[in-house]
Symmetry: D2
Subunit: 94 residues, 4 copies
């Protein structure tokens, strides 16, 4: 169970399919000895696409799971959810 809405699910999978295509394009570029800087430019683009998908899911998580959990009075669970989120954010933002 997560906080991703049905209509967003479709959109996210579409973005991830496009990203899969970008990764296959990178394989082809390496295979065909394309110029390093062109390959690296595509890597930057793929990283950006991945980051955007991540921010979208994070947004859903905040508006959904986190908001919902905080409404409950289970303080221990709330602390856990926030600690889990912070561990993730430390990695996500580095």
């Amino acid at each position: 169970m997560n906080s991703i809405q049905a209509n967003e699910k479709k959109n996210l999978i579409l973005r991830l399919k496009r990203l899969e295509g970008q990764i296959r394009g990178l394989q082809r570029m390496v295979e065909e000895d394309k110029y390093c800087v062109d390959i690296l430019t595509q890597i930057v683009a793929a990283k950006g696409a991945l980051q955007k998908v991540g921010l979208k899911i994070l947004d859903d998580h905040m508006h959904g799971c986190v908001q919902r959990a905080m409404k409950e009075d289970d303080i221990e669970n709330n602390e856990e959810i926030i600690n889990e989120l912070m561990t993730l954010l430390a990695k996500f933002s580095s």
Copy 2:
């Protein structure tokens, strides 16, 4: 033409194939409504893998194209190659 050695080419393509698998795994996770934080953890891993591939290609580019170009006395071309690299690094490191 680029600076990637034949034996590294294989290794890079292998890594990119594994990354392609990770992206397909992400699609499945979204499809199957997996927990947001678990999806995000995989996104962080994929970003790290992409960054490593990028640094490897950058390394090849520096040791190859850049080093080779600088040996020539074509100052204009040298400046261009470094400017191109800096434009890339500004994006790559943000």
Copy 3:
């Protein structure tokens, strides 16, 4: 008003004073024509220190302001707080 505890406030200010010292050290390094790579290594260290201070304040914000707000039934305000946070995280993690 924010969510930073009194004892953490001291610790954060201490870290920021140390960071101020690092920035002054950087000025000296540039002034004294130190080797670029050594200056850049110090810049990486300062960026890391800044990121750590940021993550600490973000942690306080999540455990404090965000958690507190979500407990209220002011849905409009909750949405605003999360949107504000996401706008920040998009910048913080890029």
Copy 4:
């Protein structure tokens, strides 16, 4: 000895002095219990300023030290300079 031009030196020190002011501003914000999100927004700005100073020095290093070194036929030294640069870039871009 480095590759920073005299006129750029002034400009870099000016930027670093401004950054020092931003860090002192952050101390004041923490001291005066300003809102976390406002503090974090300033941290994002300071990180951006630091990154820009870093990219400027990297640019000077590439156009100066690196380009100059590559012109020499001391292959061992060239390799060392590029390896040193790559170690730095791996940290700078993460």
